[in-house]
């Protein structure tokens, strides 16, 4: 009988912003322990929040084997590794005054706008150990800005947002990014005449694609790309991967929820347009005859492992938008209002806030419209490339550029 113990300790400091000022501080400290046991082709899971008696949890997990939940016992290589990427972004005692100073500056520099929502600092410590000898530990932290921007007098709940996960705090850069959006929000321009243009979007657009790479969907014939592992399905310029590299990810452990560590901490779903793999757990790997992908996760501390898209990202193909489109007109999609995909792969997402970029600079804010296209085209012939940060100097996430149709223009 193999046993696994996973312990996750998180600490979060959350500063709430109302009308441009911090009005609350929330401190969440959480400790979760999970025990999984594997025996006779089944899994037993037990978990607890807070301090716990691990031996009691082990007993509970062994008793849960009687539920008869089938799960293969696929031990890991028995390696040990510890990674600590924690770095102090702002000294503890300076947090509140530093953030209040930033918010005062944002309000002063952008007097037509109100700022609200959260700035969150989170620290994670996670350990995984197994009776197969594997022992991993990780510590990381992140600072996340999620600032909602509202034009004073607007009937909207929000008009813009500034979201960024940062690796170093620089007030000037944050203020410059927020000012860039606020200034251009006020410059309204007419709709573009073109019905198809390059569109710059963040990675949320991948949501329309990812279920096709889920092991169950793929193996049961419900993926658009069923049977196509090894085949070219997208543009050469597109590579999608689950990335757990401590050098590239801020608060994601380098091992997955089942103690698997991938080569270069990466698992490719698509590499240079070729389908390379699907996101699965050890169970789906065994059931469907696929390699273990290191993409197992769990819904919570008491759950059986399931496939997880943690760390999913796109490889940049260029350093700037200019490198991708030259001086061509491009639309930066800033705020969308939902969106979805039809059974035949047609994606549509209404755009609430978008900006026209010409010769590398934002010209002004466009009226509302809807972006549409088929997944095969958007990520195929119409895919132009990806680069880090979009229009923001502080953002560390990749943005995608593809040509898409613009419909329902106001």
């Amino acid at each position: 009988m193999r046993e696994e113990i996973i312990v996750i300790k998180t600490q979060q400091k959350c500063f709430n912003i109302t009308a441009g000022k911090i009005d609350s501080l929330r401190i969440n400290s959480n400790l979760e322990t999970s025990v999984r046991v594997y025996d006779n082709g089944c899994i037993g899971v037990a978990g607890k929040v807070g301090n716990c008696d691990v031996e009691a949890l082990k007993k509970e997990a062994r008793e849960a084997l009687a539920q008869g939940i089938a799960y293969p016992d696929l031990p890991n290589e028995g390696k040990q590794q510890s990674v600590d990427t924690y770095r102090q972004l702002i000294p503890e005692e300076e947090l509140l005054p530093t953030l209040n100073k930033l918010l005062a500056r944002l309000s002063a520099e952008n007097p037509d706008f109100l700022f609200s929502n959260k700035i969150i600092l989170e620290e994670t410590e996670k350990t995984y150990s197994s009776t197969d000898g594997s022992a991993y530990s990780y510590r990381g932290n992140t600072m996340e800005f999620s600032i909602v921007i509202k034009y004073k007098g607007s009937a909207n709940i929000m008009d813009e947002d500034y979201s960024a996960e940062i690796d170093a705090y620089d007030e000037d850069k944050v203020a410059a990014d927020v000012k860039l959006i606020c200034e251009n929000y006020l410059k309204t321009i007419p709709s573009v005449e073109e019905d198809k243009l390059p569109v710059l979007v963040d990675m949320s657009v991948l949501q329309y694609l990812l279920s096709d790479f889920h092991a169950d969907y793929y193996a049961l014939g419900m993926s658009r790309y069923k049977g196509k592992i090894g085949e070219k399905i997208f543009s050469d310029k597109l590579s999608i991967l689950c990335d757990r590299s401590p050098a590239r990810q801020y608060n994601i452990p380098f091992f997955d929820g089942e103690g698997v560590v991938n080569e270069d901490y990466s698992f490719y779903l698509v590499k240079n347009g070729v389908m390379k793999g699907i996101v699965g757990s050890k169970k789906t790997a065994k059931n469907y005859g696929m390699p273990v992908s290191g993409t197992g996760g769990a819904e919570d501390y008491a759950s059986v492992p399931v496939p997880s898209f943690a760390g999913v990202t796109v490889l940049p193909t260029a350093k700037s938008l200019e490198e991708l489109v030259g001086g061509r007109k491009t639309i930066f999609v800033s705020v969308t209002s939902g969106g979805d995909v039809t059974p035949d792969g047609t994606v549509s997402f209404p755009v609430m806030s978008a900006y026209l970029i010409e010769n590398g600079s934002i010209v002004g804010r466009l009226p509302e419209f809807t972006v549409t296209g088929n997944l095969a085209d958007l990520f195929g012939d119409d895919f132009i490339g990806a680069f880090q940060g979009g229009v923001f100097s502080t953002s560390t996430t990749p943005y995608l550029v593809f040509e898409a149709k613009l419909v329902n223009k106001a």
């Binding site: 009937a155 549509s348 329902n408």
Partner: protein, 444 residues
């Protein structure tokens, strides 16, 4: 016994939550999780800042509270603060589900009920059957430094049969869900299931794309509920008006915001997934009309927003769980039924679409609804299935374009999904209404 200090406002919310989650995938048991978790959320206010903490160590709440007092600054006049003055003082015990509690149903019965339904799912293009049984029983305690002492309970139970179909290069997923507050009320017959599977089969094999454009649309009760929640419910949450004096002036009660036949109400009193007899600031649930006959009639408040706008409390300060502070949220948001029959609504449409159920929605200045099962309407009759990615429109224009409200008001309850707002998701909310007709929506 919690000891509150003078010179501060403070409250403590405790939730003892029991949940069951059973998952059966293509006939095999994937998960059978029964969790009991007790947590507390503590708030201290000194008139300038709020300080919050959550803890699972509910035997030491007093220590957590005392730590928060250490962050705050004593304020002898805290009782006169406009937010603190607004807090209700309630002493009540409202236990309504204890005698019919899902904790008392053997997990084997719960598993058998979902397994039997999963076993009955068969059809040509059906690839994935994901059966879920979910329940929750929570007992809440709320104590405040003003003297509130409230205990109440909450319960939901339900089944969801998720079905995944594949036909050629196309895929389609939908789920049949039944949910309620009592185990005995939640039933799906095999005939209902067979009808649903048959409808999905017809959809995946025959649905045609639409030509993007503006069309008249009939929304079935679930779509109506999602539309009301997304288009106007979120706009009724008064926290988006904080600090915006122009907005407060513009957004006056009585302002014309929709068609004369449109009335939307909000209440936490309905026993369903949005049941909130007391909100997470200890305010008793009531009834709030958001729109009455096309005019703005009210909005949803926490004590902070009520104090800012000098309006009354509505019982809408809710937190998704004891890890978070309460913010302004919906409970049950419902479009009031009208006088037309559904047939009368459809009969007036030469070419349009019927939206039977939806996957999700969102709403700001533009709302979006992503339909699942949708049909064309031709010459006043429901016709063939169609593939629609999204319905969208400007919120205020569209509220004014509602030109038919049927008499079949329905309140829906769910055990999957929920409402998301910033970091707090998914919050269980109820929604619904009757069939409604909108003269024009963007369809793509």
């Amino acid at each position: 016994m919690i000891h509150f200090k003078e010179g501060y406002y403070a409250d403590v919310r405790i939730e003892d939550k029991f949940t069951t989650n059973i998952v059966i995938k293509n006939g095999a048991l994937e998960e059978q999780k029964v969790i009991s978790l007790k947590k507390a959320f503590i708030r201290v206010f000194d008139g300038t800042m709020w300080y919050y903490a959550s803890t699972s160590d509910t035997d030491h709440i007093q220590e957590e509270l005392d730590t928060l007092y250490g962050y705050a600054t004593e304020n002898p006049a805290i009782g006169e603060h406009p937010i603190v003055k607004r807090y209700e003082v309630n002493r009540d015990e409202k236990i309504v589900f204890a005698d019919d509690c899902v904790k008392d149903i053997p997990v084997s019965d719960k598993q058998a009920s979902i397994a039997a339904l999963c076993a009955a799912c068969k059809s040509e293009h059906l690839q994935l059957v994901m059966g879920r049984y979910l329940d929750r029983y929570s007992r809440f305690w709320f104590y405040s430094s003003k003297g509130s002492e409230i205990t109440y309970d909450y319960q939901t139970t339900g089944l969801s049969i998720g079905l995944g179909f594949a036909c050629g290069e196309e895929q389609f997923s939908d789920a049949l869900q039944r949910a309620g507050v009592r185990y005995s009320d939640v039933r799906v017959t095999k005939e209902e299931l067979a009808d649903f599977i048959s409808e999905c089969e017809t959809y995946i094999t025959t649905a045609k794309p639409v030509v993007p454009g503006s069309y008249p649309v009939i929304l079935a009760p679930m779509a109506t509920g999602v539309f009301a929640h997304e288009s106007f419910g979120h706009k009724s949450e008064a926290d988006f008006m904080l600090g915006d004096e122009t907005m407060a002036k513009e957004w006056q009660i009585g302002k014309k915001v929709g068609s004369d036949i449109l009335t939307i109400y909000e209440t936490g009193t309905i026993q369903g997934c949005g049941y909130t007899p007391y909100d997470d600031e200890g305010t008793k649930a009531g009834m709030t009309y958001l729109i009455k006959e096309g005019r703005l009639a009210g909005r949803l408040h926490s004590a902070t927003t009520a104090a800012y706008l000098d309006e009354g409390l509505t019982g809408n300060a809710r937190a998704v769980n004891c890890d978070f502070e309460p913010i302004v949220r919906m409970t049950n948001t419902i479009v009031k039924g009208g006088s037309s029959t559904v047939e009368e609504l459809i009969a007036g449409i030469e070419h349009g679409y019927y939206i039977k159920d939806v996957k999700h929605g969102s709403g700001m200045s533009t709302f979006t609804i992503a339909p699942n099962l949708a049909y064309e309407i031709e010459n006043g009759k429901i016709g063939k299935p169609v593939k629609i990615a999204v319905l969208t429109g400007n919120v205020f224009e569209t509220l004014g374009l509602i030109d038919g409200v049927a008499n079949d008001e329905t309140v829906l309850c769910f055990v999957t999904g929920g409402c998301g707002k910033m970091e707090q998701s998914p919050l269980p909310v109820g929604l619904g209404g009757p069939h409604i007709r909108v003269s024009k929506m963007n369809v793509s």
